[in-house]
């Protein structure tokens, strides 16, 4: 089966080091596994390499029982030492960085390991090769979510590579030993990677013989190759979906992107931006329904707080339906005269036409209530410098991951967080809820807590939440049992790749 994972969607997409990969996870998941993963509906966390787990009564120590007889691609057996090695490598600054390093610092002894005062992480107990115990500094409910994206790597082979040479090492393109259903056969940089079935995969030998990922730089070319039958899977953008719906040989697979679009405002630039009534006014002024219907062609779902997952959305969240009159009334109530604001620049790192159209719609909607916006599209690094380093942005149109775990909100809105809480949003009630949510182990109670958090977010609007976009994949009808959902970065979910097969 040949698929196209199109670059450059995410940095590192043609680099096969999973630790620093910002995306392409559903490909890397074919080679490497995790302790746990999500089900495809993203409603629960299920075991991957871990068969079962439990947490101690003080909620600090997690015990994961590893499945028996899991083999690495070279035939050796998985042990808890590999798990400990992988976690240590992820937090090790010399290894060049790892997306989950920040969250893994919550493990006891991680800080000492990182600053060099300890030679291993004390909170990891791998004395029993079939069990890994992880002790955290405080009760840590999102630990499971963190572990869904912590790659379990092979100590025997990767441990031979000097730590400071791991980044960009040819190990990732030549050796790449994992526990996933497929193993590396060949890799030609910039062109393709070929995997073949791993007969001793712990869920059973895959039905497919080969998986090939071809590197396309232009999504249009990938779609042409799909139409011709050269590849069996590709991403589709919203504007091509209509055309591909008519393709008899294809099935279009829509799904929530797990990325919200939002508008942020810098209160340093204008005190009005810090005024909650002003922010609410803007939410009412923007006609989200029309934008979604006409520009996204329906491929987006409005959100009024960070979360898109229904279980975290309370029935009484504020639904900002389009109401320009209410917007004007709120402006008056806030005592802000829009004309006095001058021209406000809204910057963004999105350079595509769709985003330009969307921001133009914002411009029009806000002009109708007297606010004048100038649009500025910038390239990624320049925008990052302006937004994060110089704190020079006034308003920005951004995209932010909204999951998979609701603890994501902590990084954005908790008052103690630097950098990702750029404008130092500080709401004591929200802070408390986010702290509670991080340590509440009972799932039902946790859902409740985050529903309350959602309500506050929709009132206080640390971001002006617009929508969660829908993304599409497309697969050829000749592939049976295919499972896919467009999670952010490719996500970590069980897609039963060992059951995919080619129909004759």
């Amino acid at each position: 089966m040949t698929g196209a994972w199109i670059g450059p969607c995410c940095v590192g997409v043609d680099n096969n080091n999973p630790m620093i990969a910002g995306g392409d996870y559903h490909w890397l998941n074919k080679i490497y596994s995790h302790l746990v993963t999500y089900n495809v509906e993203y409603t629960e966390i299920i075991g991957d390499l871990a068969e079962s787990w439990e947490v101690s009564s003080d909620n600090l120590t997690w015990t994961f029982k590893l499945r028996d007889g899991v083999q690495w691609h070279d035939g050796s057996l998985l042990t808890s030492e590999d798990v400990a090695f992988s976690i240590e490598l992820c937090v090790n600054p010399l290894a060049g960085g790892c997306t989950k390093a920040g969250q893994l610092m919550d493990i006891v002894g991680a800080k000492e390991y990182v600053d060099g005062s300890a030679s291993s992480i004390s909170g990891l107990d791998y004395s029993d090769p079939s069990v890994i115990k992880i002790t955290t500094l405080a009760p840590n409910a999102p630990l499971l979510d963190t572990l869904t994206e912590t790659w379990i790597l092979h100590k025997a082979s990767l441990g031979q590579v000097p730590v400071d040479q791991i980044n960009g090492n040819e190990y990732w393109g030549k050796v790449a030993i994992g526990t996933g259903p497929f193993k590396l056969q060949s890799y030609v940089p910039g062109q393709y990677m070929e995997l073949v079935r791993f007969d001793n995969y712990f869920r059973g030998a895959p039905l497919l013989e080969k998986l090939i990922r071809r590197h396309f730089q232009d999504p249009a070319t990938a779609l042409l190759a799909f139409d011709r039958g050269e590849i069996d899977f590709a991403y589709v953008t919203a504007d091509e979906v209509e055309r591909e719906m008519a393709n008899e040989n294809a099935i279009v697979l829509p799904g929530p992107s797990q990325v919200d679009n939002a508008i942020t405002m810098n209160p340093e630039k204008n005190p009005a931006f810090g005024n909650t009534l002003f922010r609410q006014a803007i939410m009412y002024a923007i006609n989200r329904e029309a934008i979604i219907e006409n520009l996204y062609k329906g491929a987006a779902k409005p959100v009024n707080c960070l979360f898109g997952n229904e279980r975290y959305i309370p029935a009484d969240e504020i639904k900002y339906t389009y109401d320009p009159e209410k917007a004007k009334a709120l402006l008056a109530e806030a005592g802000i005269d829009p004309a006095s604001l001058g021209t406000i620049t809204m910057d963004t790192y999105y350079n595509d036409q769709l985003s330009l159209d969307v921001m133009t719609a914002f411009q029009q909607d806000l002009a109708a209530i007297g606010i004048d916006i100038a649009i500025q599209q910038m390239d990624g690094p320049s925008w990052t410098k302006r937004y994060y380093d110089d704190l020079d942005s006034e308003m920005s149109f951004i995209g932010g991951a909204n999951g998979a775990d609701p603890h994501r909100a902590y990084q954005y809105y908790h008052s103690s967080v630097e950098r990702s809480n750029v404008y130092k949003f500080n709401d004591p009630e929200l802070d408390k809820l986010l702290e509670q949510g991080a340590s509440e182990m009972d799932i039902a109670k946790r859902d409740q807590i985050y529903q309350q958090a959602c309500k506050i977010m929709s009132e206080k609007l640390p971001w002006l939440f617009m929508w969660e976009t829908v993304r599409y994949g497309i697969v050829s009808k000749r592939i049976g049992n295919f499972v896919f959902t467009p999670a952010a970065g490719g996500g970590s979910y069980y897609d039963a790749a060992e059951k995919w097969f080619i129909r004759n």
Binding site: P93, G96, T99, G168, I212, R214, Q217, L224, P381, K385
Partner: protein, 318 residues
């Protein structure tokens, strides 16, 4: 002649050094945080890694020190490691260079083999219908954007007529086959050659027209030489100089690659690599590529000048 070449080579050295200084200064002074390429924002802030990288890359040193570090490693062939992904710059660039060169040289060869004869024919039959048709086609060839030609070509010849595969250099998963490779090379090379055919045809045509009316050509005819000898040996050889200039100017393009065509056909070449480096703020990569382009332009110019001397004995360098 040998003295001329040696002198040119010697002059190239300070010019090359100047290029390295400029390349280094531009990337060092560009706005943006150089560490940002190594530690992306979504990986959170990692002060230990940041400090370690700063020390390793020497980013806390003054500019001249950083320049000397870079240049001393470069002359030994060590172009460092990419900021994004960490692969060695030298091997990444060499791979891309090989891929780009194959594509561009093929396109240039087609351009010469098709464009030059067409230009000669067009000049000999000036104002005829053939001339008119060819000139119009040239005009179309130069005016159509490569993006349109590329996607259009893929759609027609790849999808509809199924004559060529869609994108890539080889069919993945199979052992290398020359036939397979040529099939993949054909369409992008043809699309790229359109531009070369067009410009070479134009230059050949106008250059030939200048020469064909010269007195020595009529003398050659008057002496009873066959028309083919007159055209090819006397006229064409003198018309060659502008043509060599065009070909010489095309040589640095081997190194720069053709960004749009490479993107459309997913041909992993220098053009798309440079764009990737610039948009990802991958400084080591950008410096490596810029340096390579600089060197190539210098030597391509030298080669072109030397060719002139061979073609036109009146040109003497001293």
């Amino acid at each position: 002649m040998t003295r001329y070449i040696i002198r040119r080579l010697l002059i190239n050295i300070p010019v090359l050094l100047g290029i390295t200084v400029l390349v280094f200064l531009f990337t060092a002074l560009a706005p943006g945080d150089p560490i940002a390429a190594y530690i992306r924002p979504e990986m959170g802030d990692n002060p230990i890694l940041r400090a370690q990288l700063t020390k390793e890359l020497g980013l806390d040193q003054p500019l001249p020190v950083r320049y000397f570090r870079w240049i001393s490693r470069t002359v030994q062939g060590d172009l460092g490691f990419r900021a994004v992904g960490g692969q060695p710059v030298a091997s990444t660039v060499m791979n891309a260079l090989r891929n780009s060169s194959i594509l561009m040289l093929t396109a240039l060869a087609i351009g010469c083999l098709v464009g030059i004869p067409l230009g000669i024919i067009s000049a000999l039959r000036q104002y005829s219908r053939t001339d008119f048709v060819l000139t119009t086609l040239t005009f179309l060839g130069i005016s159509t954007p490569s993006f349109l030609l590329g996607l259009g070509g893929l759609y027609v010849f790849g999808l509809k007529l199924k004559m060529f595969p869609i994108g890539g250099m080889v069919t993945p998963g199979q052992p290398f086959s020359m036939v397979d490779f040529l099939q993949h090379l054909a369409l992008p090379a043809l699309i790229l050659s359109a531009g070369y055919v067009a410009s070479l045809m134009r230059y050949t045509r106008s250059s030939m027209l200048e020469v064909i009316n010269a007195t020595y050509v009529s003398t050659a005819r008057a002496k009873g030489l066959r028309e083919r000898q007159v055209v090819l040996i006397h006229a064409f050889r003198n018309a060659l100089i502008p043509i060599i200039t065009v070909i010489g100017l095309a040589l640095p393009e081997m190194v720069g690659g053709a960004v749009i065509t490479e993107t459309v056909f997913s041909w992993p070449g220098m053009g798309s690599l440079l764009i990737e480096g610039v948009s990802g703020r991958d400084y080591p990569l950008v410096m490596g590529i810029s340096l390579l382009i600089g060197i190539t332009v210098l030597f391509a110019n030298l080669l072109t000048d030397v060719m002139y001397a061979f073609v036109d004995p009146r040109i003497r360098y001293n």
